[in-house]
Amino acid sequence: MLPLNAALFLSAILFAIGTAGVVVRRNAIILFMCIELMLNAANLAFVALSPYAGIDGQVIVFFVIAVAAAEAAVGLAIIIAVFRHAESVDIRNFSLLRW
């Protein structure tokens, strides 16, 4: 058995790195990738806990992967649509919905 705490700590580190990326980057595609990173961090926590809490954790990870795939497909389609409009994927072009 691997150390549980080590896996959970790894999950926390990856999640924190993902958040930092989301805050600091402006490229929409890289923002998406940071979000994927955070999703994976959560997945890791599920998997690490599943031996103790039951197989359900792994089932949920499966769903998360499926939803992430759907999200990536739609999100990238949106980025393409915006790129056609603004010739850029800079997140500052996406600020028209404020106020």
Partner: protein, 173 residues
């Protein structure tokens, strides 16, 4: 012992790759480093006994999703490092600071979990399931019995995503 060494090795790879993902200016480089993270995570899943999830991780994430990302990057011709991508220093410091605070809090929250679980028995539930149903069956049985409705809803969601992606990306609707 070997599995422990392998775990720490892949954990190190995952952390380094994640950091490189966040810090690379070129989106193509970021994407490839992220693929590295996913591979390392797949290995860790396998080490944790989640063989099916490990395979899916490589197939879906590293294979399908990241290929999609790279495809879009190439399509939009973003594979350069000229664009001003990072926010200013103030935001960098705030991002790092908030990430560290969050990390500290998360470590503090999950830190006590192991002793708690070990104290309540620490029996490997997954191993028993795998022994009974096999690697795929251990996940498949609950998925098609207990989680059949969420499974169908997820399928519907994927269908909607496919249609939505086509509609959004089409040039003339």
């Amino acid at each position: 012992m070997l599995s422990q060494i392998l775990f720490y090795f892949f954990a190190g790879v995952a952390i380094v790759s994640a950091l490189m993902t966040v810090t690379r200016r070129n989106p193509v480089a970021s994407a490839l480093w992220l693929v590295g993270t996913f591979f390392a995570l797949a290995a860790i899943y396998t080490l944790l006994g989640a063989f099916f999830i490990g395979i899916i991780q490589i197939l879906v994430y590293a294979g399908a999703i990241m290929v999609l990302f790279l495809f879009v990057i190439m399509l939009l011709n973003l594979g350069n490092d000229f664009e001003p991508d990072f926010r200013g220093t103030v935001w960098k410091v705030m991002a790092a600071g908030s990430a560290l605070v969050l990390l500290a809090l998360l470590v503090r929250v999950v830190g006590g979990t192991e002793s708690l679980l070990v104290a309540t028995g620490g029996v490997d539930l997954v191993a028993a399931q795998v022994a009974e149903y096999g690697v795929v069956g251990a996940i498949g049985v609950p998925m098609f019995l207990d989680y059949v409705v969420p499974l169908q809803v997820t399928g519907l969601l994927l269908l909607v995503a496919v249609v939505g992606a086509v509609v959004l990306a089409k040039r003339d609707v």
